[in-house]
């Protein structure tokens, strides 16, 4: 980090950054201790968006909790839905049908692209590149139309269910996705021409907010932030869950761990995700999307209305005190969300409600490491570094 400390005057000023500041993208607060323009000390404060998601998990049944997961990382709710139901399914020792696994991968990768696009737009906007924001939101809008048609909602998707998904893909989904994937690399190239060799962008991000691989591990960074620091770790490769072992993709890795590398890693991840999406569409198996186990998944509407067994099964799945019951035990399941390792640790007492749900949010660790990246640098870099980490207040505070 290039220091402004040589120009230090010895006079100290405390600057309160946030909790409501345009560049915090949520309610984050950093207390900066400045000497001139250099940052002597940075103290991040979390908790402004604390909503008690973990406490709620002890009172909602397993299917009800899916709607809460939407609100954690609200930029990629589909990934959260996915990670959560996977944890419950592993606790139940069940495996969903192949088609369901593929649909989930498809949606998780689309939401990874959407998440990175929003990150790209806002991070560039923070540093004054307004046109990038428009370009990336144009592409993101196409994805959100697909999400809306698939799940019925743009933001609070709640698409997965224990043992399946809400419904199969809509007619024409494949064409929509294929059209997006074929146009997207060209659109992303426009952004590359705007930023990647742009003098101003490079000056603002290169060597800014650097972290070494060793420190990144010590701080618990995951996802693009860890990979930008040179650690080639991706849970989709390390612990392939839900058919990720059947697709091929590369894991982009940076060298300097600075804001510029985090930018490059995310840019390449979007292209890799498009590759995964194409493979998933090419090999999409036919068959049911839901597990055929009436103790776990809802029966068809026609069965629920037309047959007494169907009605009973419907009743048992949705009623309070019945529902999906997991065996007594505990399980930790981690998935590679767009921001990094999103883990769910579930302790079950054998009832239809979790005894304890712990969420391991990637943003929590990224925000904690912020002083390490800021101290000794310039105050204007704060926005660049914070932007490059993509801290989402919803999952930070839960």
């Amino acid at each position: 980090m290039q220091g402004g400390l040589e120009r230090a005057t010895g006079e100290r000023m405390v600057l309160n950054f946030g909790p409501q500041h345009p560049a915090t993208h949520g309610t984050l607060r950093i207390v900066l201790e400045l000497d001139g323009e250099s940052v002597l000390k940075a103290t991040p404060h979390a908790g402004y968006l604390h909503t008690g998601f973990e406490k709620l998990g002890e009172h909602l049944d397993y299917n009800q909790y899916i709607v809460v997961t939407d609100r954690m990382n609200y930029l990629s709710p589909l990934s959260n839905n996915f990670g959560y139901v996977l944890a419950v399914e592993q606790l139940l020792d069940i495996e969903v049908p192949k088609r369901c696994q593929y649909i989930r991968i498809l949606m998780a990768e689309l939401s990874r692209v959407a998440d990175h696009l929003l990150w790209l737009g806002t991070a560039a906007l923070d540093l004054g590149a307004f046109s990038v924001f428009l370009y990336s939101f144009r592409e993101r809008e196409k994805l959100y139309s697909i999400f809306e048609k698939t799940t019925g909602a743009r933001l609070t998707t709640s698409y997965t269910r224990i043992g399946g998904v809400l419904r199969d893909l809509y007619v024409g989904c494949e064409e929509d996705v294929r059209q997006f994937v074929s146009n997207f690399p060209k659109a992303l190239k426009e952004t590359h021409t705007l930023l990647t060799r742009n003098r101003i962008w490079m000056d603002r991000t290169k060597g800014v907010g650097s972290i070494s691989g060793e420190d990144a591990i010590s701080y618990g960074l995951t996802g693009p932030c860890l990979r930008a620091a040179g650690v080639a770790h991706d849970l989709r490769k390390a612990e392939p869950y839900s058919s990720y072992d059947e697709v091929t993709f590369d894991v982009p890795v940076g060298t300097n761990g600075d804001a510029y590398d985090r930018y490059l890693v995310r840019m390449e991840e979007m292209i890799q995700s498009c590759g995964i999406i194409t493979q998933v569409l090419d090999n999409m198996p036919d068959g049911p999307v839901n597990l055929e186990d009436n103790k776990i998944t809802m029966p068809n509407k026609s069965d629920a209305y037309g047959h007494i067994e169907g009605l009973i099964h419907h009743f048992k799945v949705v009623m309070d005190g019945h529902g999906v019951e997991t065996p007594t035990g505990e399980h930790y399941c981690a998935t590679e969300s767009p921001n990094g390792e999103l883990g769910f640790y579930i302790v079950s007492d054998g009832s239809g409600t979790a005894y304890r749900i712990r969420i391991r949010p990637p943003s929590f660790f990224h925000f904690q490491a912020l002083p390490h990246m800021l101290e000794g640098g310039m105050v204007s870099d704060t926005v660049a570094v914070l932007g490059s980490l993509n801290v989402i207040a919803g999952e930070l505070d839960r």
Partner: protein
């Protein structure tokens, strides 16, 4: 390759074998569920065990994934098994080298909520321990700044304890909107 063979022959994970060799007196229980080794460790030796797991070159659990706790006061089976310890502090570790996970659980009694801090081993443990303190009241000894992180500083109680009600203890109704520095 040698170690892999041994593991196959005895079908016991290397980590359990090595811990039994070096820290047999620290282990209260051990298990392997769904591909993860789970060990229950005595509180007095938790720092030594975690340090060993991190620094041993064959195990190399260098990545601290998570620190949290569970209030077992309504979980009779757990209470019985671990001498009526109310809390269970849970560490999740990951090894890049072996691409495997281990979960370390530590029973903590309500009348002695102290447990050594692992901030010296992992920088990321700082906020995790603060959150566990905030939510459960576990006191991490040796932590540089054990203050609340998600709840306000003047908050009373620990919200994730089982005796804390879902809708709070009237904090919402009593909230003073006129308070100058709220």
């Amino acid at each position: 390759m040698n170690e892999e063979k041994e593991v196959e022959e005895q079908s016991k994970p290397l980590v359990l074998e090595k811990l039994e060799e070096h820290y047999a007196d620290a282990l209260l229980a051990q298990d392997e569920t769904r591909g993860t080794v789970v060990i229950v460790v005595r509180k007095e030796q938790v720092y030594a065990v975690l340090e060993y797991l991190k620094t041993d070159s064959e195990l190399a659990y260098t990545f601290l994934v998570d620190v949290t706790a569970v209030d077992n006061s309504q979980m009779e089976s757990e209470l019985m098994q671990f001498d009526y310890a109310r809390f269970m502090v849970v560490y999740q570790l990951y090894s890049f080298q072996g691409q495997c996970r281990v979960r370390v659980r530590v029973p903590v009694h309500e009348n002695d909520l102290n447990i050594p801090s692992v901030t010296a081993l992992w920088k990321g443990a700082n906020w995790l321990e603060r959150e566990t303190y905030d939510m459960f009241g576990i006191n991490f000894e040796g932590h540089p700044d054990l203050s609340r992180i998600l709840m306000p500083d003047d908050f009373e109680g620990h919200p994730l304890r089982k005796d804390y009600p879902l809708r709070g203890r009237g904090e919402r109704e009593r909230f003073n909107f006129d308070k100058q520095n709220a």
